[in-house]
């Protein structure tokens, strides 16, 4: 492994300054659970790592009536241990609680999960359900990027060079909501999903679906939403027929592939099966 410098800036500005000075040879890092793997394999050979972990406030969880603001460096374990999140944003809680193992969750961050932009990112799929918005800071100032537009391809995000993610705003759905995330794996821990399925529906007072979100992991080059399935769910009651129709649409829309980890027919079938399971408990 090549040698690199390790910087621990104490503020966001300092971090941005370092990244600007060091240029493309520097890589921001949080828990390093993805970065380290790539350093070891040689896929990544930066001259410097800029750790965001010492920046105060970046690891916080800020809960309010409107929603949750996750510091980019909040760990999966912090989400897992939070009963407020478990109650109001259950799909996010389920996703973070199943990342790797407890040891990985103790250091791996939600922000890292998003910035790494793997198609299999568990937390990313769950956050797509909640219309999360990324707070980005850069040399030119700050901006908000909806998560829906954050992923550009495998390992590619909307972050411009020198920009960092500082927080993730997650609105709490208003109204009766059913949501869940199912991570399909071959063993019970320490495995990326063969398929990640997340669904959220929020109902109006009349029992009709006012908002529907369906998101999938490992069903395309990035974590993706399924607009067709969402449209099939929205606007009517949450009946078995409508849920199954939406599941069928999602299964058809999904760009699942044959790989040695799982065959396409199985993945597609699981989309069909898991959306009703999450919404109807069957």
């Amino acid at each position: 492994m090549a040698r690199f410098a390790y910087h621990r800036p104490a503020t966001v500005d300092e971090a941005l300054g370092l990244l600007a000075d060091l240029g493309p040879d520097a890589v921001p890092v949080a828990g390093a659970t993805d970065v380290w793997v790539n350093l070891r394999s040689g896929k990544l050979a930066p001259r410097a790592l800029v750790s965001l972990r010492a920046v105060p406030g970046l690891a916080g969880l800020d809960r309010s009536d409107d929603g949750l603001t996750l510091g980019a460096c909040a760990t999966h374990a912090a989400v897992e241990d939070d009963s407020w999140i478990a109650g109001r944003l259950p799909a996010l809680h389920m996703a973070c609680s199943q990342v790797g193992s407890r040891q990985v969750r103790n250091v791996g961050t939600v922000g890292g999960n998003l910035c790494n932009a793997a198609p299999s990112a568990d937390a990313a799929v769950a956050l797509l359900l909640y219309d999360a918005v990324c707070r980005v800071e850069g040399p030119g100032g700050g901006r908000d990027v909806p998560l829906d537009g954050f992923f550009l391809g495998p390992g590619r995000t909307a972050l411009a060079p020198g920009e960092i993610l500082t927080g993730i705003r997650v609105p709490v759905p208003r109204g009766r909501t059913v949501a869940g995330y199912h991570k399909l794996t071959r063993r019970k821990a320490m495995e990326l999903p063969i398929l990640g399925v997340g669904v959220r529906v929020t109902l109006d007072d009349g029992g009709a679906v006012s908002e529907a979100r369906v998101a999938l992991g490992v069903a395309g080059p990035t974590p993706v939403r399924c607009p067709g399935a969402e449209a099939a769910l929205a606007g009517g009651p949450l009946t078995a027929e409508r849920v199954e129709a939406a599941a069928e649409t999602a299964a058809r829309e999904a760009r699942v592939r044959d790989s040695w980890r799982g065959q396409a027919w199985y993945r597609r079938h699981m989309i069909r099966v898991l959306i009703p399971r999450i919404l109807l408990g069957c």
């Binding site: 399909l184 063993r187 821990a189 065959q263």
Partner: protein, 748 residues
Amino acid sequence: MSARRIVGGARPRRDAVDKVLGRTRFAADVRVPGLLHLAVARSDTAHARVRAVHTARALAVPGVVRVFTARHVPGVNRYGIIASTADQPMLAGDRVRFVGEAVALVAAETPEAAAEGARRVAVDYAPLPAITDPAEALEAGAAAIHDRGNLCFEQRIVRGDVDAGFARAAAVVERTYRTAVIEHAYLEPEAAVAWMEDGVLVVETSTQNPHYDRSDLGRLLGVAEERIRVVQRATGGGFGGKLDLSVQPYVALATWLTGRPSRLVYSREESFLATGKRHPFVMRYRSAADGSGRLLAVEADLLADTGAYASYALAVAMRAAVHAAGPYRVPAVRIRCRTVYTNRVFSGAMRGFGTPQAAFGHESQMDLLAGALGIDPLEIRRCNALGPGDVTVTGQTLGDSVGLVACLDRVGAVRDRWARRLREPDGVPRGLGVGAMYYGIGNTGVSNPSTARVALDPDGAFTLFTGAADIGQGSDNALLAICAETLGVDPDRIRLVRGDTARTANAGATSASRQTYISGGAVLRAAGRLRQRLVQEAAQALGVPAARLALEDGRIGPADGSGTSVSLAEVAARCGGGPVSETGGFDPDAAVLDRATGQGRPYGTYAFAAQVARVSVDPATAEVRVDGLAAAHDVGRAIHRPSVLGQISGGAAMGLGMALMETFGPGRDENLDTYLVPTTLDVPRVTPMIVEQAEPTGPFGAKGVGEPALIPTAPAILNALAAACGARIHNLPATLERVQKALRGEEA
């Protein structure tokens, strides 16, 4: 305390505290000043003629000291743990036969320079057709991977009138089963350091067999064994994968040729790429039973892919064949097991030597017969179970230590308890399954002795010298217990010198579940002789007949407690002041199998076991949960109960991996992120049960348990899955896709 409670007891192991505190020094922890770091350049092609190996660019890397290729190997560039099939070069000569084969060795001042040097070795290959399927390898006209052809070894077992058995059968089942390539995935990757000491090459390494290491290192270097000393360091698991040489030839060569110390530790990736695997099997089974479920005949044709080199293929073929019909009375068999060369990383020994694969076949067949005849799966096993005095498929008459029925009864009681809770109204498919096995202790059909020495030191303490490599399973502890029990002292009063070719005699490999039985037997005899000698010496000192004396708690005196006694230190002084030592040996009563019929006496004794698995299956996703595993093992006598229970639980975990997830794809899996082994969340609480049918030839009645622990697990889980899904899976592992198909009623 009375020393007589050591065997069968549960004292903490001697190595436990150091291991828990991280103080144990493994081979990778040995630091030698001024050493050379090594890196191996490996083939990236599966089969090719090597036209030239270009090392100039590697030598140009700053820090690189030497680059070695096949032409630098001073001795015979061919090794292999079974001498008659030894065929593996330490550095490829004119041919590479698998991706990952060593082509050149780079020695450098830093690990980075060594790695960079290895990257810069360029090989000029003339590609040859690569064969990846063993059936294809046997076809006429297939490219020959070795000069002697692609059939590495074939073992047949023929007995009785098979055709007559099938002719009068009430049920016949015929199926084909497949198992996967499996990686040992021990905690500690291969590691060795070497240096010269007074003209002797010292190699400290992680190994299951220091004496074998020394002899093949001697051949590779063209050096007399006396000039080489191999010391086994604390070893973090082996499971058969550290029987073969791995890193040892490279440190030996580098140090021998440069005179400088050297070190090589495989990364996990290199361990995956370049070291032995479990043979994948294709097994065609045909089994016949009469109306009451009694087996009449078994026909089994087993084809195993041994990859590029023979390694342990011969032993795997023999053992798989001997055990292919399972632990049953079968009057007629026609069994053939062939191990075949392909251009895949070589397969060698792995916990069970082919028996776990065969058990998947014979135990699936037993359930199919039971189903065809409407007989309970436990019942059909009970009515066929080998018992004392029965004759095996090789014509061997068993002795008294045959505890299979007891094992079946023990797991049967658990199964019946579980069966009551099986049908819950939640619609979740659940199932129970049984697996049974027998397993010959020690090497198949050959002499495989062990020798041990026990000395009384001048201070009145003892030293046990054994060549038996403790690879984490606890042989140190078991041998010390046997020694202590025999000498009437606390095990803490015994020093241990282990696994050092300069100081201990050959104990044979730590494999084949043999060290407790065989090296334990050697220790028992050595300690017994020493005890006799000391008692005689004390008898002279005390003027009391030896027959009336007892050695207890470090003193020798009248057994009835009357009169005076002498301390061991006094006895030692009487013997002349120096250490007093005795040697003992044991070689199980085994004899070579007939070449044509496989008849003979392959082992001195057998372990027996039965396990029951309880599984539930998600009806939609096909995710499997193993909810319970009950495992009853006839070990003869448990020398150290916690170790036996640990072996059973660990073996069951490994068997679960074989059943549900483990499958190695060359080129695909290079680490534990994609090659999945079970985690603690995947393994249920195992209910281990010890059955003790004492073996008269074993130390205190002991046999073995290391490999038996794993063998019935996958069969039990797969039988439970068949019960839960209603259709059977014939291919391991039972992936989500295969279970999904089984849930739909398709055979997978």
